[in-house]
C-alpha cells in the first residue's frame, strides 16, 4: 500500500471517532438539561407535585439495597417476556399460515382487525374474573398488545417479498419449507425488527399497567402502591426504573438486529 492510500484509509476513521464524540457530548448535554429542568420543576412546584431527582435516585439506591428493586424487576420482566414470546411466535406463525391461502386470509383478516379495536384495558375486570388474580390476566393483556404489532409488520414483510426470488428458488428445486425459511423469513426480518422495537416497550408498559390492577409485587405494583400513599418520590422512582428497563431491552434488540441484518447495505452506510 502506498502512503497516499494509507492516509486515505485512516481519514474516515478519524472522522468517525470525532463524530462519535460529538454525539456522545450532545447526549450528555441533553441529559444534563433534562435533569436541570426536572430539578427546576421540583423546586418551583414542590416535592409532592414533582419529586426531586436526587431524592428519586436515593430511593432507587435504597430499593436496590433492600432487594425490593430486584424482585420487582424480575416479576415485571417475567410477565413481559413470557407474553412477548407467546405474541411473537403467534404473530409470525399466523401470517405464515395465512400466506398459504389467499381466500382464508381474506375471510379471517376483518376479524383480526376488528379484535384489534377492542380496548384491552377496558376488559381488565373481566380478565380478572376469567383468569383470576395471578399472572394470567396480565399475560393475556401483554400478549394481545404485542401480537397485533408483530402480526401487522410480519404480514407487511411477507407481502413485500420479491416474487422473482421465489421463482428463482422454485426453479432451483426449493420446496415450500425452504422458501419460507430462506426467502420469506430473510426478506421480512427488517420488518420484524421494526415490529420488535415498537412492541417491546409496549410489552413492558402493558405489564406495568396490568400490575396497577392486580399484583403483589412488580414495578407497576410499586408505582401504584406509592401513588396510593401519596409517595411522589416512589412513583417517580418506579417510572425511572421502567424507562431504564425499556432502554436496556431496546439496546439488546439493536445488537440482535445488527447481527441478523449484517448483510444490509444501509447498516454500514449509516455509520459514515
Amino acid at each position: 500500500m502506498t502512503d497516499a492510500e494509507l492516509t486515505a484509509g485512516t481519514l474516515p476513521q478519524a472522522g468517525g471517532l470525532s463524530r462519535r464524540r460529538l454525539v456522545l457530548g450532545g447526549r450528555l448535554l441533553l441529559g444534563a438539561l433534562l435533569l436541570l429542568g426536572w430539578e427546576w420543576g421540583a423546586r418551583s412546584l414542590g416535592s409532592v407535585f414533582f419529586a426531586p431527582p436526587l431524592e428519586v435516585a436515593a430511593r432507587i439506591v435504597a430499593l436496590a439495597r433492600s432487594g425490593v428493586l430486584f424482585t420487582d424487576i424480575v416479576t415485571t420482566l417475567r410477565v413481559s417476556a413470557l407474553g412477548f414470546a407467546i405474541a411473537c411466535v403467534a404473530g409470525v406463525l399466523v401470517p405464515f399460515l395465512l400466506r398459504r391461502s389467499q381466500r382464508l386470509t381474506e375471510a379471517v383478516e376483518p376479524y383480526i382487525m376488528a379484535s384489534m379495536g377492542i380496548p384491552k384495558y377496558a376488559l381488565a375486570p373481566w380478565l380478572i374474573l376469567w383468569f383470576g388474580i395471578g399472572d394470567l390476566p396480565k399475560l393475556v393483556v401483554v400478549t394481545l398488545m404485542v401480537f397485533y404489532i408483530i402480526y401487522i409488520t410480519t404480514t407487511a414483510g411477507i407481502r413485500g417479498v420479491d416474487r422473482r426470488l421465489i421463482d428463482m428458488a422454485r426453479i432451483a428445486g426449493a420446496g415450500e419449507a425452504v422458501i419460507a425459511r430462506e426467502i420469506i423469513w430473510h426478506s421480512l426480518l427488517p420488518f420484524f425488527f421494526t415490529g420488535l422495537k415498537v412492541a417491546l416497550p409496549r410489552a413492558v408498559s402493558a405489564t406495568i399497567v396490568g400490575e396497577f390492577l392486580v399484583a403483589t409485587e412488580g414495578v407497576g405494583h410499586y408505582i401504584e402502591y406509592s401513588r396510593q400513599v401519596s409517595d411522589t418520590v416512589g412513583v417517580f422512582a418506579g417510572i425511572v426504573v421502567a424507562v431504564a428497563l425499556v432502554l436496556a431491552i431496546n439496546a439488546a434488540v439493536n445488537v440482535a438486529e445488527r447481527r441478523a441484518l449484517g448483510w444490509r447495505p444501509v447498516e454500514r452506510e449509516m455509520e459514515l
Binding site: 420479491d162 422473482r164 421463482d167 447495505p265
Partner: protein, 265 residues
C-alpha cells in the same frame, strides 16, 4: 451432436386473463414452434415487447401456457393452470433471468451454492466444482462478499455460474447481459462461451441485440411482433472458437447481421 430434439415447442400460445371490462384479451404469443438439439446454443432475437420473457417463463414453467405444448425429452407439458406448474421441470431447466436475483443475505459463494444446497447435493465434489466456476469467471477473492458489494458485471457472473453449478441439462437465459456496459458485456459473452465449451450445455439465449445473437449462437431465431411467432431462422456459419471482441471482422458476420436485421422489420 444428435439430431433428435431435447426440447420442442409446439404451436405455443399465450394470452393473459382479460382485464375487468374487456371481453377478450389478445394473444401475446400464437402458433410459436421451434426445437433445440442437445448441446446447441440457440439464440432468439426479437424486438422489445415481443413476449421474449413470457416465452421463457412458460418454458421454465413459472407461467402457464394457453395453447400448444412443450415437450422435454419426449415428455409433454401442457400446464394451463398455475397448480399444474412444475417450475424448472424438476431441476432439469435452469433459468438465468434479466435481473440477477441473487439473495442479498447470502455471500457470493453461498448464492452459487444455493441450488445445490436446496437439492441436498452439497458435498466436496459439488463444492469444488462451484469453486472452479467462481475462479473461471474471475470472482476469486469475492466469495465472501454480499451482492450489494459487487459490481453489476460481477453479479451477472455470479447469477450465471449459480445456474451452471447445479448442471441442469437445459439453461434459459433472458437477456442476462442487457444491463451492463458494452465492454463488460463482451467480456461476459466470452466467459459464457468459455463455460459453454467446458460442458456444451443446451442453452436458449434470448436477446434484443443482433450482434450478441450472432456472436453466441449456433442458430438464431427471429421473433415477429405480437402475436409473437417465429419469423425466421438463421444458421450462423461462423466457426468456433469465436473471438467475441472481433466478431464484426469475422467472415460471415456482416451477411448474417443483414439477414437478421431485415427479418426483424
Amino acid at each position: 451432436m444428435s439430431d433428435a430434439p431435447l426440447l420442442e415447442i409446439r404451436d405455443l400460445g399465450k394470452r393473459f386473463p382479460p382485464r375487468p371490462g374487456r371481453d377478450v384479451s389478445p394473444w401475446v404469443i400464437q402458433g410459436l414452434s421451434f426445437s433445440v438439439r442437445p448441446g446447441e446454443l440457440l439464440t432468439i432475437v426479437g424486438p422489445s415487447g415481443a413476449g421474449k420473457s413470457t416465452l421463457l417463463n412458460m418454458i421454465a414453467q413459472i407461467d402457464t401456457i394457453s395453447a400448444g405444448e412443450i415437450v422435454f425429452n419426449g415428455e409433454a407439458v401442457t400446464a394451463h393452470d398455475a397448480r399444474g406448474l412444475r417450475p424448472g421441470f424438476d431441476r432439469r431447466i435452469g433459468y438465468v433471468t434479466q435481473d440477477d436475483c441473487l439473495l442479498p443475505w447470502r455471500t457470493t459463494i453461498d448464492n452459487v451454492l444455493f441450488p445445490i444446497e436446496v437439492q441436498g447435493r452439497l458435498n466436496d465434489e459439488t463444492r469444488a466444482h462451484a469453486e472452479m466456476l467462481v475462479r473461471a469467471v474471475g470472482l476469486s477473492g469475492f466469495e465472501r462478499y454480499y451482492p450489494h458489494e459487487l459490481s453489476g458485471g460481477m453479479r451477472k457472473r455470479a447469477a450465471l455460474i449459480r445456474t451452471l453449478a447445479y448442471d441442469p441439462p437445459v439453461i434459459l437465459m433472458d437477456e442476462p447481459f442487457a444491463a451492463v456496459d458494452a465492454q463488460t458485456r463482451t467480456q461476459l459473452q466470452a466467459d459464457l462461451l468459455k463455460l459453454w465449451n467446458l460442458g456444451r450445455k443446451t442453452i436458449i439465449f434470448v436477446t434484443h441485440d443482433i450482434t450478441e445473437a450472432i456472436a453466441l449462437g449456433d442458430r438464431a431465431l427471429v421473433l415477429s411482433r405480437q402475436p409473437t411467432r417465429i419469423a425466421a431462422e438463421h444458421v450462423i456459419p461462423i466457426p468456433r472458437p469465436r473471438n467475441v471482441a472481433d466478431i464484426f471482422a469475422l467472415e460471415g458476420f456482416a451477411a448474417a447481421y443483414e439477414r437478421i436485421r431485415t427479418a426483424i422489420q
